[in-house]
């Protein structure tokens, strides 16, 4: 009995990580000069179907699939809720269950390209003219050093500071003049806590998200985590200590961060939706997620840029997604999938009728139209798009001016080049320590973190 139990447990432990090994096979890559019939019948799977929780977005997605299939009778689309998951992506590719196309965050594009886990689509998307439409700076996120293209960037954004306009008003602050430096954020947070009793500022601290937001605060102080090539750690700097000291002092001295230390984006959104958070740093898309999942008054949400240290602006962390393709796909599948990406993600920018129809449908389903931000396409295409859909925009641009005005001024800095997710996960405890130990030696914390990250990136 005991023997069997032991083996069973060993099987579970070992099997968890080992089961996926069953389907190993050789690398497949797109042929250099694909010969294929673009009109041959083909079936593709597209990932990122919004969950049933986000009803409006799901309906828009499925309607688009129907419309695409009507316009391309030879293409059959199967939808899948598969979305990026750091842990299971390798198994998806190896097991052959990766959708023909799905989105991969900027954090991981370099890694999956280097690993040969996604298809080279230079010779597929090139002739279709898709790549010409993409903003060249953004396209770099989907290319290797030799300039081959492995995906189509479809969203790009800088992190912002989301704030609760209602709490600002209750605290006697002007919601149309949000704080723009860290000193101003501290003052505003203190006032909100004093006047309303809720935390004025909260920050994600759990696991990878904790390190992600901490990295954004380091950028905002003028520091970096890795050098641009990702070959060296640059974390051990006064700027990193300042970033840590700011939240430490807000928590311990100002007492403007409440008492809970551990937050993920999800739990933070819950706090925000319950009117228990004044400000927090997150992607501006949080606006849409709050709308899709929580029944809250959207006019209370404001967004401005990530606060900058004195002497700035220094930088905002750039994030986004690239549509990437299954390396085992046939050229016909790659072609159909690239056309789908062009249709679904870019159609609204390039075709007035699609843009208007899309916007109309989203509004009717209670979704968000016209969320300000950056565009993966050229700024001209984006401006044109916003003109087409002007009648349907249900986001008050005045609540976002702090964010939109900053995009041209604040340098946008990409995520750490080497093993970003791992680095983020490793940085989280550092932030937690600053918030749970009043007497923590912040300088020592940073230098410890720096040597741990050195170990991570030395794996290559």
């Amino acid at each position: 009995m005991k023997l069997r139990v032991r083996h069973g447990i060993a099987a579970v432990v070992v099997g968890t990580v080992a089961l996926a090994a069953a389907g190993c096979s050789a690398t497949a890559s797109a042929p250099a000069t694909p010969q294929f019939d673009p009109n041959a019948p083909v079936t593709i799977t597209v990932g990122d179907l919004p969950s049933t929780q986000a009803e409006a977005a799901r309906k828009t997605f499925l309607d688009s699939v129907d419309a695409f299939e009507k316009a391309h009778p030879n293409v059959t689309i199967e939808t899948s809720e598969t979305r990026w998951d750091n842990g299971s992506f390798s198994a998806l590719v190896a097991g052959g269950t990766m959708p023909t196309v799905m989105s991969v965050p900027f954090t991981n594009t370099k890694q999956v390209i280097d690993n040969g886990q996604v298809a080279d689509i230079t010779n597929i998307a090139g002739p279709l003219g898709i790549l010409d439409r993409v903003n060249p700076d953004t396209l770099k996120q989907a290319q290797d050093d030799a300039g081959n293209t492995y995906g189509i960037p479809t969203s790009v954004d800088a992190l912002g500071l989301i704030y609760n306009r209602e709490l600002f008003q209750q605290a006697g602050l002007d919601p149309d003049d949000p704080p723009s430096t860290w000193d101003e954020v501290r003052e505003a947070a203190k006032t909100i806590t004093e006047k309303t009793g809720v935390p004025g500022y909260l920050q994600m601290t759990e696991e990878g998200q904790g390190g992600w937001i901490y990295t954004a605060t380091v950028y905002s102080q003028g520091g970096t985590v890795e050098d641009p090539t990702g070959g060296e750690v640059t974390l051990d700097s006064d700027q990193s200590v300042d970033a840590l000291k700011t939240v430490h002092d807000m928590y311990w001295d100002d007492k403007s961060m409440g008492s809970t230390v551990l937050f993920s984006l999800k739990t933070l959104m819950q706090e925000y939706a319950a009117n228990r958070a004044g400000m927090f740093i997150a992607p501006v898309q949080t606006y849409e997620w709050l709308n899709n999942v929580y029944d809250i008054d959207l006019s209370t949400i404001g967004a401005t840029h990530v606060p900058q240290a004195e002497g700035g602006p220094y930088g905002a962390l750039l994030s986004g997604n690239v549509q990437m393709f299954n390396p085992k796909s046939t050229p016909e599948q790659l072609n159909a999938a690239a056309e789908w990406v062009d249709y679904y993600y870019f159609g609204k920018y390039t075709d007035e009728e699609t843009a208007v129809a899309n916007a109309k449908a989203v509004v009717a389903d209670g979704g968000v139209v016209g969320l300000p931000g950056l565009s993966p396409l050229s700024p001209e295409a984006y401006d044109q798009y916003r003109k087409w859909i002007a009648d349907y925009i249900n986001v008050d641009p005045a609540h976002f001016t702090g964010y939109t005005d900053s995009l041209a001024e604040i340098p946008l800095i990409p995520e750490p080049a080497t093993r970003a997710q791992e680095v983020y996960a490793d940085l989280a405890p550092t932030v937690q320590q600053a918030l749970t130990d009043e007497n923590a030696d912040l300088k020592a914390l940073i230098s410890d973190a720096s040597s741990r990250i050195d170990r991570i990136i030395s794996q290559g």
Binding site: K2, V5, R6, H7, I9, A10, A11, V13, V14, G15, T16, V17, A18, L19, A20, A21, A22, G23, C24, S25, A26, T27, D85, N86, G87, S88, S90, V93, A94, G95, Q111, N115, G116, Q117, T205, E206, E207, G208, G210, G258, S259, T260, V261, L262, S264, P327, R419, Q421, E422, A425, A428, P429, Q432, Q433, L435, T436, D437, R452, R455, Q459
Partner: protein, 322 residues
């Protein structure tokens, strides 16, 4: 089975009489006898079980061991020898994770082992509504673990407004930081996991207690034994086999604690609740470093095996007297 029983006398005959001395039936005859005796059918019926068991139980173990010696993204694989083990053993987080896991196990044994036994003994003594109480004790087991753990997260909210804190606050205690405190986080988790897991042990103990012969109690009572002496001299010795097995299962289970730290704190604050399984998860599912995840899994499995063997030796004398 048939095959082994039939073959055994033959091989013994061979050894006794020396090679070639006694006339042995030719191989062909023996084979046809074995076939006629149903040997083929034994294999036909046994094979699916053996193959399925081998593939699903042993296959992953072997792949895990193989994986621990490789660096792979499942598309390209290279053999790297012991370097995954070196990487894992030099990870500065590992000692912390091992320490936390051992602390969790130790506190779990202190609280989680005697509690269900005590509950079961008390319930066994009850004359009425025994079913109701055992159902109540088992109820937390029915709640899906993730839901149960998230409920505890609400209970443990720090600050005055937290559920537990507001209860304790009404008698002038707290507020406590619970999961936000490096010192309190593991004990808090043990309470949550004991609440969730004790029910199963209670039911098993109750069943075992039902098997204790009543005349033993009567005899003890005639000899003038009180409640405590009856428990100590009759109940415990009678169910010690079950107690020992449940203890071992609890040790193995708590050394693999994952749900509580993952859902309650993500391993924080400051890695104060990171456990061995969380490190494995981190390697495998965040860092995509499958080799390191497999290496640490193999080491954990070996450690559990060694602990189990040591446990058996340590408790052998007690079990033998049963």
């Amino acid at each position: 089975m048939t095959l082994q029983r039939k073959a055994a006398p033959d091989s013994r005959a061979l050894t006794r009489s020396g090679a070639g001395a006694a006339p042995r039936r030719p191989l062909r005859v023996r084979f046809s006898r074995w076939v006629k005796g149903g040997g083929i059918w034994a294999i036909v019926f046994g094979a699916p079980l053996l193959i399925i068991f081998g593939y699903f139980a042993w296959g992953p173990i072997i792949s895990g061991v193989v994986l621990s010696l490789q660096k792979t993204n499942f598309l390209t694989t290279t053999w790297v020898g012991w370097s995954n083990f070196e990487f894992v053993l030099t990870d500065p987080v590992l000692p912390k994770a091992v320490g936390n896991t051992l602390l969790f196990t130790a506190i779990s044994l202190l609280i989680g082992a005697p509690l269900p036994l005590a509950l079961a003994v008390v319930m066994a003594e009850l004359r009425r509504r025994k079913g109701l109480y055992s159902a109540l004790a088992y109820l937390p087991v029915v709640i899906p673990p993730v839901v149960g753990i998230l409920l505890w997260k609400v209970m443990y909210l720090p600050g005055k407004e937290g559920l537990l804190n507001s209860i304790l606050g009404s008698v002038g205690l707290g507020p406590f930081a619970w999961l936000n405190s490096e010192q309190m986080v593991i004990p808090s988790m043990v309470v949550a996991s004991t609440w969730a897991g004790a029910g199963t042990a209670v039911i098993i103990y109750l069943a075992a207690l039902g098997g204790v012969r009543p005349e033993l109690y009567e005899a003890a009572e005639l000899d003038g034994a009180g409640v405590w002496r009856r428990i100590w001299h009759v109940t415990l010795p009678q169910i010690r086999g079950i107690v020992l097995i449940l203890l071992l299962l609890q040790i193995i289970g708590t050394l693999q604690v994952f749900n509580e730290p993952k859902l309650l704190t993500g391993g924080g604050p400051n890695n104060a609740s990171i456990t061995i399984l969380m490190v494995i998860y981190q390697y495998g599912f965040v860092n995509s470093n499958y080799g390191a995840a497999a290496a640490l899994s193999v080491m954990l499995a070996l450690a559990l095996a060694l602990i189990s063997v040591a446990y058996q030796f340590a408790t052998r004398r007690w079990s033998d007297n049963d």
